[in-house]
């Protein structure tokens, strides 16, 4: 079947079987491998992408459900040479070890900051509870989200999202 996907501002027409997951399409057909497979059942968040700004587990969504909607993957955050403030904060706070959970964490964190501009640590933990970091860098991730919130709140800080 043919579908149109709007990913990171570009439109793609694809002819793929309807049972294919969004994760598999963006990784394999579009080559956007920043979204990761971790569990395939919506329990780890490694495959998180934003659809219309909301975090979605792309491993658990069939391609048809995503067609025509605005999709953002980790590859769509940095613009030009400069990182998105959430990416910058993860980098500066060293909020990862192996980094495999990182794209999903960053996108989930970004969605949280769109809802709550200055979340508490509890709010961050609750919102990100579906994202597993097996390396256990949770404390750093919380720090990074606080730092990103702060930098986005600054009037001349970058506040895209």
């Amino acid at each position: 079947m043919s579908f149109t996907l709007l990913v990171n501002g570009a439109a793609y027409s694809l002819d793929v079987p309807p049972e294919e997951t969004l994760l598999s399409v963006i990784r394999e057909r579009l080559g956007l491998t920043g979204s990761k497979y971790g569990c395939g059942e919506g329990r780890c968040g490694a495959c998180t992408v934003l659809i219309e700004g909301s975090p979605v587990r792309s491993c658990s969504m069939k391609i048809g459900a995503a067609a025509g909607k605005t999709i953002t993957t980790i590859e769509g955050l940095a613009s030009g040479g400069s990182l998105h403030p959430v990416q910058q904060a993860f980098l500066e706070k060293q909020a990862f070890q192996c980094g495999y959970c990182t794209p999903g964490m960053i996108l989930s964190a970004l969605a949280l900051l769109e809802h709550i501009t200055a979340p508490t640590s509890e709010q961050i933990g609750r919102y990100l509870d579906g994202n597993v970091c097996r390396c256990g860098t949770y404390p750093r991730i919380i720090e990074a989200v606080h730092a990103a919130a702060l930098s986005r709140s600054k009037p001349n800080g970058k506040s895209r999202g």
Binding site: E28, I74, A78, F96, G136, P139
Partner: protein, 716 residues
């Protein structure tokens, strides 16, 4: 510098030497080398003579080189190591140490890691050896390179090497004001040096780059998603693989009908004995093809979880005599009568899974008879051997490349996916990528061994330990010895005929042995009516461990009033892999709900190479350790894993996160020890002891509370 002069500087064709030394087709290396300075480190005894004299046979060349370094005439510095990056930040911390000794900016160092064609042989990245061993070797190589550059400049200028200084990749002569960059020094040269002896190293107290916390050298690639893990790679013409798994362990393929898959377009079915897999042009086609194959498996009867512990105790493995892990001092039998208080307790540890977030993956490509495999493993050279054996080819016909990997924790020592991908690629005549599903990773990898540990002990009324008997069945001997002073000891490890495939796991059995010992110490302290910390310190003379206990207790506020009822404090500690650890935990108990609210851990691992990353490793180990302590357990029945998904196997999440405070005891006077593992060992006993403190319920099985707190009466 005088020492460096002992080894003759040879102008030499490094490439041919290397080729001879390793008898490997190091094509990639030739390209990389070009002109410049090349320094490698030979292990003591590996190479008895000066290097590179004409006419020497290849058997006289060093065969046991652990690391090497190249400085190109463009100024690029490349360090080569067989270690791999699996999240422990060694790509950065090793580069820091090279940068330190060479006095160059971190950004000018490129690390080539875990590539059997480009890097020296390495046993594997495990056992917390990278920092103490590889870090030291690279420091030696880099320090020698620095000496060599100074000597070269001194010769050019007819100056004394001791008058010259280096900074920012440049040799300076403060007297004459002359300066020359490393790049210029090595230009149009091919300098080779094999280091035979130990060059003087920069002491940790003078470190500037080592000992600091720069951002990860390739950190940007991780936050942008640009980094290619094995599972992200594609190569031209590549197919996607899928394995048809047996319905249980040890099953034999009784019959199968592959024809429905074979008729699908572009699908290759590969069957060899019980191996059955497919390769297809995309993932979904591979899945469909695999699903179309009908199989029948013969499953032999197997031990189930309910019989696990009796089985481990009852079936010592054949290899017991060989392992011979028994430690005896004093005379236990006579000592028993001297103790005022004796207790005997049994502790158990369940099987747990590593759950690396990136499951096993491999991309395999055959070019004629040469096999290249990209895979996430901690042991690239062992996987190369595995592949050579599987396909009956020479190791020189196999190259294994390890992209920085989505974690391992001791769980990726083996090359299952690599062999499977290579088999499919061979059958299909095209490169194949195979990425295991989470279910496959949970089922067909290996587990942290389950174990039973019996402890018997006795103490005098004043708390002095008299005897200590410790029998570990199956879980392993790591950190089995007690750090406490006990005159009469018998400590033994008994390997068993275990029902599930088991292997190493971050900290190995140190987690289980610390759990048993430190829980038992707590039990004995309570029997004696002593404070658990005081009891430990009374029996402890090791100053570094004492310092760790004091530091943790101090920060934690050991002995302070509890903020409310239902709170409990616990302490535990120990020594492992050159690290000294003490952990204090606070729990809050509300009916059967237990929460670990605060953990304070003090850790002494010698001189600290990267403080920020060390604290991240420590808190990460605490978080991971909490899973095994509280709820992680593999359930199995008759050769099947019953909970092979993240929905049925719980791992620590944000909501499980306690407040974590880390006290790093930076001992600049001590050599750096590895830090990825030992910090995991204190958490389970500290939490068990805290639960006892809060509830008087003693939990002796890991995981402690998979289903919440058991009723007091249910306690064994």
């Amino acid at each position: 510098m005088a020492r460096a002069a002992d080894s003759e500087l040879q102008q030499h064709n490094a490439v041919s030497r290397l080729h001879a030394a390793f008898s490997l087709p190091r094509r990639g290396f030739f390209k990389l080398m070009g002109s410049g300075l090349f320094v490698c480190l030979a292990r003591p005894g590996a190479f008895s003579q000066e290097s590179g004299k004409a006419g020497r046979g290849r058997h006289e060349l060093p065969t046991t080189i652990d690391s090497w370094l190249h400085i190109g005439d463009d100024g690029e510095i490349t360090a080569f190591t067989g270690k791999v990056e699996v999240g422990q930040n060694v790509r950065t911390s090793l580069a820091q140490q090279v940068a330190e000794e060479l006095r160059v900016p971190l950004a000018s160092i490129k690390m080539v890691m875990g590539d059997t064609e480009l890097t020296p042989y390495d046993m594997g990245t495990f056992g917390s050896r990278t920092t103490p061993q590889m870090g030291l070797e690279l420091r030696k190589v880099a320090a020698s390179a620095r000496s060599l550059l100074i000597e070269t400049a001194a010769r050019n200028w007819q100056a004394q090497p001791t008058d010259l200084v280096v900074a920012h990749a440049t040799v300076h002569d403060p007297k004459s004001g002359r300066a020359i960059s490393y790049a210029e020094l090595v230009r149009a040269q091919k300098l080779t040096k094999v280091i035979l002896d130990d060059p003087p190293l920069t002491p940790a107290s003078q470190w500037k780059m080592a000992g600091s916390s720069p951002l990860k050298v390739n950190g940007r690639d991780f936050v942008t998603g640009a980094h290619k893990y094995t599972s992200d790679l594609t190569i031209s013409g590549m197919l996607y693989g899928k394995i048809i798994r047996p319905s249980a362990f040890s099953a034999k393929l009784a019959s199968c009908d592959t024809s429905p898959a074979e008729t699908l377009p572009g699908v290759t079915v590969v069957r060899e004995g019980d191996f059955l897999g497919v390769a297809a042009r995309d993932e979904i086609s591979a899945q469909r093809a695999a699903a179309a194959i009908r199989t029948q498996w013969e499953v032999p009867g197997q031990i189930s979880e309910r019989d696990l512990f009796s089985r481990l105790r009852a079936t010592p493995s054949q290899s017991q005599s060989e392992s011979g892990d028994e430690h005896v001092t004093g005379a236990i039998d006579e000592a028993r009568a001297q103790a005022a208080k004796t207790i005997a307790r049994t502790y158990t540890v369940a099987y747990i899974a590593h759950v690396p977030l990136e499951p096993r993956a491999a991309v395999a490509e055959w070019k004629q008879d040469f096999l290249t495999v990209w895979t996430g493993t901690q042991r690239p050279f062992a996987v190369r051997q595995e592949l050579a054996e599987a396909f009956h080819i020479a190791e020189t016909s196999v190259r294994v490349i390890v992209p920085d990997t989505g974690s391992a924790y001791g769980g990726k020592h083996s090359g299952e996916a690599a062999v499977e991908a290579a088999r499919l690629a061979k059958g299909a005549g095209r490169p194949v990528k195979l990425v295991w599903t989470r279910e496959e990773e949970f089922t067909w990898a290996y587990f942290r061994p389950a174990g039973v540990i019996d402890v018997k002990s006795g103490a005098q009324a004043d708390g002095g330990l008299v005897f200590w008997e410790f029998d570990n069945y199956n879980s392993g001997p790591a950190a089995m010895l007690t750090p406490y002073e006990v005159p009469h000891q018998r400590i033994a490890f008994h390997p068993a005929d275990a029902p599930l495939r088991q292997g190493s796991y971050r900290s190995l059995a140190a987690a289980a042995n610390h759990f048993a010992r430190e829980s038992h110490m707590d039990e004995l302290a309570h029997e004696l009516g002593m404070d658990p910390l005081k009891f430990r310190l009374k029996n402890l003379t090791n100053q570094r461990l004492r310092a760790a206990f004091m530091a943790a207790a101090d920060k934690f506020g050991w002995g302070r009033e509890k903020s409310s009822s239902g709170r409990g404090f616990g302490v535990a500690g120990g020594i492992e892999k050159g690290g000294y650890i003490a952990t204090c935990a606070e729990v809050s108990v509300n009916r059967e709900q237990v929460r670990v609210v605060r953990v304070v851990e003090a850790f002494d691992c010698g001189a600290v190479v990267n403080p920020e990353e060390l604290s991240s490793q420590i808190s990460g180990a605490i978080v991971q350790g909490l899973g095994g302590a509280l709820f992680e357990a593999i359930h199995f029945e008759n050769g099947r894993i019953l909970n092979p998904h993240l929905s049925s196997y719980r791992v620590p999440r944000f909501s499980d996160l306690p407040g974590i405070e880390v006290v790093v005891l930076d001992r600049k006077d001590q050599p750096p020890a590895g830090a990825g593992e030992t910090p995991l060992t204190g958490i389970a006993p500290a939490v068990a002891n805290a639960i006892f403190d809060a509830t008087r319920i003693r939990l002796r099985s890991m995981p402690l509370i998979p289903n919440g707190l058991p009723a007091a009466g249910a306690n064994p």
